[in-house]
């Protein structure tokens, strides 16, 4: 029941949050001294052509009317069109989002498996050789620049060893993407039984997932280790141990206790990566949200920037809602 109330509360809060976010973004993009009109006007503009663009984009209207107009369309699920590509922002974001989600979800899953294992192993053997080695690996992972690691992977596995496909985005050369069902290439090729596309898209995912997950495994490992160390010295664990419970069971208790901070960390990492994976996206030619956002900001494509921020906000809120729901499941104290 608690969970239902939680969801209800969050959803109720979502509306004012989104209005606030849309208003702030709307104003911010317009305050920055980077008027898109000049970029759109071409190499030898005239006063008339500049005027025509301003009218076309509706930028001649007072700010509050522009906002009312924007909100009016937003309510109908219309994020406007991108001024650069002349395509609906909703459609552009949809394809970018699925590309980003596919990469990020897989990376996060890999990172969780790796990070939690490393963190737990490290905590269990605290102070011993394995712990020192794993802490060093974590430190390297935390401090290595993400793009550099990505380039290194390309260099070693594509250029040198020739085992990875070329860094050309979501699917290799000469393989057609699977028929559109969900937009996730792996899922779609499974659903349509398209084996070549499945192989090609998995191969294309390998290096970017490796690059992204190694980097995010580090903070997860660090958090896991800290939480586990704390849990292992907790009274209930010491009590369980004193009662002579098998080691594995004691560890399981401790891990369960350590889960909340790990999940929170994973949630934060996930939301950041969705839009912030731009460096990995750039290295692997991945058509994700991050590069879209950077391009849109660079060219002051207002609708695209606003759409990006809004979608990212919604996803972030959703992720934190899921985290809270997981808390309810994991931690009995929250439930009662």
């Amino acid at each position: 029941m608690n969970a239902v109330r939680l969801i209800g509360q969050r959803l109720a809060w979502l509306i004012p949050q989104l209005i606030g976010i849309s208003l702030v973004t709307f104003c911010l993009v317009r305050v920055i001294p980077a008027n898109p009109v000049y970029l759109l006007a071409g190499p030898s503009p005239t006063e008339e052509s500049i005027r025509a663009i301003i009218l076309d984009l509706g930028l001649d209207q007072p700010l509050h009317l522009q906002y009312v107009d924007y909100m009016g369309r937003l309510v109908r699920g219309d994020l406007g069109i991108s001024w650069i590509s002349r395509q609906p922002v909703v459609e552009e974001l949809r394809s970018r989002l699925t590309a980003s989600l596919e990469l990020t979800v897989l990376s996060l899953a890999a990172a969780l498996a790796l990070g939690v294992t490393m963190g737990v192993a490290s905590a269990l053997g605290k102070g011993r050789a394995l712990d020192q080695v794993l802490r060093l690996v974590t430190l390297v992972g935390l401090s290595m620049p993400r793009f550099w690691f990505g380039l290194l992977l390309v260099f070693v596995f594509y250029y040198h060893l020739r085992v990875a496909p070329p860094p050309l985005g979501r699917i290799g050369l000469g393989v057609a993407p699977p028929a559109h069902v969900t937009g996730f290439y792996v899922v779609d090729s499974l659903l349509t039984g398209n084996l070549p596309a499945l192989g090609a898209s998995l191969a294309a995912l390998a290096l970017p997932v490796l690059a992204m997950s190694f980097m995010i495994a580090a903070p997860i490992a660090k958090t896991t280790r800290a939480a586990m160390v704390e849990m292992l010295s907790n009274e209930y664990v010491r009590h369980a141990r004193a009662c002579g419970l098998p080691r594995r069971q004691v560890w399981a208790y401790a891990i369960r206790g350590a889960l909340p901070p790990i999940i929170t960390m994973a949630g934060i990492v996930f939301s950041t990566l969705l839009g912030g994976g731009v460096l990995v996206e750039t290295v692997f030619g991945w058509p994700g949200m991050g590069t879209y956002a950077v391009q849109s900001i660079n060219s002051s494509d207002y609708n695209a920037v606003q759409g990006f921020v809004l979608i990212t906000a919604i996803i972030t809120v959703a992720v934190f809602l899921i985290i809270d729901l997981l808390y309810v499941i994991i931690d009995p104290r929250v439930r009662h």
Partner: protein
């Protein structure tokens, strides 16, 4: 960051240079050309989408009424010949004695990608659209003072007349530029809606032209695929399919080219070009090109409203260092104010060289013996411009000018340029019409918008205006001589011509350099 990343990988690649590239890698199937570009086209609408990849695509899906001829330069590289115009969609044309009425006889049997016949209606619709929407198809050539929608008349289904309001000696050159392509109006009209009467959304995705390639698919940020148009009026192109991939990291574009995964890699850095050159299986064709890079100074206020200060800046510019350490030899010196590919280009009037002693003296003469503070603006997207600015700053400091750097996103950089909101700004461009008089008119006339620094010299203003009505060789000669007084007046600091470097597998042949810096897919062949 991206540049650093590219640099690091290039370095890494360089250390392991060996003969392995060329023999291995997966060669693409015959007659398919794969290009590693920086980004995919944003769209195929010539009136709105003008990013490099977009114009490149438009030039290949579209065909123009007339075409530029082709000549071969001293190094054996083919490039456009602006002294020779060839029939395109129009098989012939006549110009009235007063140079106002231009009548084009359209070629018969020309089919669009959709199988529709070319008619005068297509030409009319294309121009109606550009004029109504104030699209780049007319604005980027400064056509509006010369022509309006009513001036484009359908004489009969195969004849169209452009009636100019006053003579425009570059009109034919304009009509041969890629952005003067003609749309298949029959097909486009089917996709017009009440909200979008000119089918902006549809044209952006489909580019319904009469050109050698039709759009097969476009996934923005990922790839664009083009298929040869079987019924292209000049004959179907030898390359049947072109796959244009977005590969944002330049080091990856190089790696893909070296391994043979792609046939062409665009926009490599000088370091990467240097490395690619030494690889077997890779061939680089360089042309002087239309692009140039300059430092533009704001002349609406002190200190740059003083020509002597600008002259001091010209003597302080690190010309050779820019060529050697920024471009590593992959650029040409720029010793004038128009681009190397234009008729009338000459270096003979160039009066400057890096001479800090002289710069200091001229600066003192100008009344600034102790220099001044200066902000140099550049765009975050132009890494070489930033590097040049840093070299420049070092020299300026030695003559007492204390410069700081400001790197802005593209749109912000552009706004500063437009609003003359800068003190000095790094600027890279190319003229959309390959004509010396056209370039001088837009860049050095006081009233012209693209005269970003607001250069204002009444003598030069008058001299440029006087030459604008000249035609042909007379025009070229007249404006060619004007390079001398313009250089003396220092409207900007000419720094370098980055050139165009076509980096391709060595079995790719037929490259022709175009003023608009696009690759004509139909001109290429694959052995």
């Amino acid at each position: 960051m991206r540049a650093l990343a590219s640099g690091l990988l290039a370095l890494a690649l360089a250390t392991t240079a060996s003969g392995e590239a060329g023999e291995s890698g997966t060669p693409a199937a015959p007659k398919v050309l794969t290009i590693a570009g920086v980004e995919t086209p944003q769209g195929f609408d010539k009136d709105f989408q003008q990013q490099v990849a977009s114009t490149e695509a438009q030039a290949n899906v579209g065909a123009t009424l007339i075409r530029y001829g082709v000549r071969t330069d001293a190094k054996g590289v083919q490039l456009e010949d602006y002294g020779k115009l060839l029939p395109g969609l129009a098989e012939s044309w006549t110009i009235s004695r007063d140079n106002l009425a231009h009548t084009f006889k359209l070629r018969k049997g020309v089919k669009s990608h959709y199988g529709n016949d070319l008619t005068a209606d297509d030409v009319k619709w294309t121009y109606d659209r550009s004029f109504t929407l104030k699209g780049l198809g007319v604005t980027s050539f400064g056509l509006e003072p010369f022509l309006d929608a009513d001036g484009v008349k359908v004489v009969d289904p195969n004849t169209v007349e452009f009636r100019l309001k006053r003579p425009n000696p570059v009109f034919l050159l304009v009509l041969a530029a890629p952005a003067s392509l003609i749309w298949d109006s029959k097909e486009a009209r089917k996709h017009a809606t009440d909200q979008d009467p000119w089918a902006k959304g549809w044209i952006a995705n489909n580019g319904p032209g009469f050109g050698p390639y039709k759009v097969e698919s476009l996934m923005r940020g990922q790839e664009a695929v083009f298929a040869a148009h079987d019924r292209y009026y000049l004959g179907a192109a030898p390359i049947k399919r072109v796959v244009y991939k977005a590969v944002p990291a330049s080091s990856n574009r190089l790696a893909l080219l070296e391994t043979g995964a792609v046939d062409v890699a665009l926009e490599l850095t000088p370091l990467e070009l240097e490395q690619a050159k030494s690889k077997s299986g890779v061939k680089i064709t360089s042309s002087g090109g239309s692009r140039f890079i300059a430092l533009v100074m704001n002349q609406t206020k002190p200190p740059f409203n003083n020509p002597k200060v600008r002259k001091a800046m010209a003597y302080a510019a690190p010309y050779d260092d820019v060529l050697n350490s920024v471009y590593r030899g992959w650029a040409s010196p720029w010793r004038t104010v128009i681009a190397a590919n234009q008729l009338g280009y000459t270096e003979e009037y160039w009066p400057y060289k890096t001479d800090l002693g002289r710069a200091r003296a001229v600066l003192a003469e100008a009344g600034y013996p102790r220099g001044f503070n200066l902000t140099i603006t550049s765009s975050v997207e132009q890494v070489t411009a930033q590097e040049i600015a840093i070299l420049y700053r070092t020299n300026l400091e030695k003559i007492g000018i204390r410069a700081q750097m400001e790197n802005l996103p593209a749109a912000a950089h552009r706004e500063k340029l437009f609003q003359a909101g800068f003190e000095a700004i790094m600027w890279s461009a190319q003229a959309s019409v390959p004509d010396i008089g056209y370039a001088m008119n837009i860049y050095f006339r006081a009233a012209s918008r693209p005269n970003w620094g607001k250069f204002n010299d009444p003598e030069i203003d008058k001299a440029v205006e006087k030459g604008l009505s000249l035609f042909g060789q007379e025009r070229v000669e007249y404006f060619s001589k004007l390079q001398k007084p313009i250089l003396e007046a220092v409207p900007w600091i000419s720094l370098a011509q980055p050139g165009y470097h076509f980096a391709a597998r060595s079995n790719i042949e037929g490259f022709v350099y175009h003023n608009s810096n696009h690759i004509g897919f139909a001109e290429l062949g694959k052995k």
